[in-house]
């Protein structure tokens, strides 16, 4: 009996002692593994103008600039892993890539499964409405009715905003934004809710069909890099980089280029 007690105590002692020694020995295991490989693998999804294919099929966009600069500053190569948006968080958890740089807004739900860095961009959500169906609508309450259909991209942050702002309206979800806008242009939905500046751009393009019912953006989103929950070292590294690039204005300048101008339009097919 004595022997048994002694053994149990010893085993327990070892189990308790192990994690603490491990923690002090290795400080940045996750960063080291990227260093070792020399390549930062970035998960992203096609989403104009965050990341998209130009005419030659190369990736361009705000996110692509950010990821390239981040990798260049850290002395890494960069490898983009295009991923379907629906599976981007599971793919991160399954270690298909090191970080999501994909215009992902910080939400409490997502924070349960991934660890967000500091926000590197602040986008908003805007509504574009069909001129015929939503004639005269200018208040939130106009859209908050059971008869109103609102289109949005599936799984996106915008769906949540739409549910909160227009709880009674029917939310139609689509796999990508172009389909959601097409639904409104076709007159099958009253309005589409999407991240700025897409609603503004589309309204200019289809001025005879669409209008912006609200002057103000619906919500201020905060987009951040996402890493796996236990990777504090990576988060700290990315946070520092974001702070640095926010201070020197580089992030803002890139954001302006992709979101406030249309100078990049001739790089992609001009229908967008």
């Amino acid at each position: 009996m004595k022997l048994l007690t002694a053994t149990v105590t010893a085993v327990l002692g070892i189990i308790l002692a192990l994690p603490s020694t491990a923690a002090t020995e290795v400080a940045t295991p996750n960063l080291d593994s990227i260093d070792e490989r020399g390549t930062l693998r970035v998960g992203m999804s096609t989403f104009v103008p965050w990341a998209m294919r130009n005419k030659q099929g190369e990736l361009i966009g705000f996110e692509i600039d950010v990821a390239k600069r981040l990798a260049a500053d850290a002395g890494w190569e960069v490898e983009f892993v295009p991923t379907a948006w629906d599976g981007i968080i599971p793919a991160l958890l399954a270690k298909k890539f090191d970080v999501i740089i994909g215009g992902m807004s910080i939400t409490p739900e997502r924070s349960k499964s991934v660890l967000f860095s500091l926000p590197y961009s602040h986008s908003g959500v805007q509504v574009a409405a069909n001129k015929e169906l939503a004639e005269g609508f200018s208040e939130f309450s106009d859209f908050d009715s059971r008869r109103v259909k609102i289109a949005a991209r599936r799984g996106a942050y915008t769906v949540q905003i739409a549910r909160e702002t227009f709880p009674k309206a029917k939310i139609l979800q689509f796999d990508d934004e172009s389909q959601a806008f097409q639904e409104v242009l076709n007159g099958n939905a009253h309005a589409v809710i999407a991240s700025s500046p897409k609603p503004e751009h589309e309204t200019i393009k289809h001025a005879n069909k669409l209008f912006l019912p609200f002057d103000q953006r619906l919500s201020q989103g905060n987009e951040a890099f996402a890493v796996r929950l236990d990777e504090q070292d990576k988060k700290a590294f990315f946070d520092k980089w974001i702070e640095l690039r926010t201070e020197d204005g580089w992030l803002k300048e890139r954001y302006e280029y992709w979101f406030s101008t249309l100078d990049w339009q001739n790089q992609i097919a001009h229908n967008q």
């Binding site: 104009v48 294919r53 005419k55 030659q56 099929g57 599976g87 599971p90 076709n186």
Partner: protein, 302 residues
């Protein structure tokens, strides 16, 4: 009279050669109906749907080669689909045949596990299987086999044969996951086909082979296999075509094949309908080509 023969083929499934091809009043009515439907579709697409078609731009986009002068992005996707189908069907045929033999075997050690696998895969929707497989199994399996390191640290220089067979080196892991997914999914169906084929062989054939004192290998090689192969070819052909179509499912786990590439191009360019119609048409061409090929193969055997 190409229209005549094509409607004929559509209407009569048993297209035997001695069938007299005559243009009847029913054919005329059907042709008219088809034409009316096509016209209505065209009218709806121009008037009902608020969409400006850009066929010229969309097509030229698909044929624009990459910045480094390599194959256009869309064709890289098409090639990936072909590779995925080829390796997928090879994998499915081998594993499926083994599973089919195992299920047919009288040993419980062989037929029970095989049966469990087949029932599991066949009774789960393909999409769900793909998600489960990719995120839980393939994720454990590939690092376990050390393939992760091999594939990643492979020298960047690969020769033309490797490039043609497996595509660019940085997508090998991606391709392997896709092949495993489609291959395993399809192997369960192939196994059932093989088992049914084996069961269709009359007991007399087995007994005759045994009574001649043939070894197991000789029995299967010279008596059973030729008969089974002949009877299961149509079913296997169907399975091959369905595998090609199933490769589009793995676009959801970001295997960069034609559907995935199509999504990316459609989203970036905004030519949604054009791109999807083209993607659909290309799948049709591949599958129709395959089914024509198998039909001539069957006729050849008869």
């Amino acid at each position: 009279m190409t229209e005549n023969s094509s409607t004929h083929r559509m209407n009569s499934r048993a297209d035997s050669t001695d069938n007299i091809k005559r243009f009847g009043s029913l054919d005329a009515v059907l042709l008219l109906l088809c034409a009316a439907f096509a016209l209505w579709l065209y009218y709806r697409s121009s008037a009902g749907v608020n969409y400006i078609w850009h066929w010229g731009d969309a097509l030229s986009l698909l044929f624009t080669s990459r910045a480094d002068g390599s194959l256009p992005y869309f064709f890289q996707g098409l090639l990936a689909t072909l590779r995925l189908s080829f390796w997928g069907i090879s994998f499915a045929l081998i594993v499926g045949t083994l599973l089919g033999l195992a299920k047919f075997s009288s040993s419980a050690w062989l037929n029970k596990p095989a049966n469990v696998f087949i029932q599991l895969v066949r009774n789960i929707p393909p999409l769900v299987f793909v998600f489960i497989f990719y995120f839980f199994i393939s994720n454990q399996l590939i690092p376990l086999l050390g393939l992760d390191g091999i594939l990643r640290s492979y020298p960047a220089q690969i020769n033309l044969v490797q490039e043609t067979l497996f595509g660019p080196a940085n997508l090998w892991e991606n391709l392997l996951s896709g092949v495993l997914c489609v291959g395993l999914l399809s192997s369960a169906y192939v196994a059932e086909v093989v088992r049914a084929g084996l069961q269709s062989i009359e007991a007399g054939q087995w007994e005759a082979a045994d009574s001649l004192g043939m070894s197991t290998w000789a029995k299967y090689r010279y008596v059973i296999a030729p008969q089974v192969l002949k009877s299961i070819t149509p079913a296997l052909a169907g399975q091959t075509i369905s595998l090609v179509k199933d490769t589009s499912i793995v676009s959801l786990i970001s295997i960069q094949e034609m559907t995935f590439v199509g999504t990316e191009i459609a989203n970036s360019s905004g030519y949604i309908f054009e791109i999807w119609l083209i993607v659909g048409f290309v799948y049709f061409l591949i599958c129709f080509g395959l089914s024509t090929f198998f039909r001539t193969l069957e006729k050849h055997h008869k």
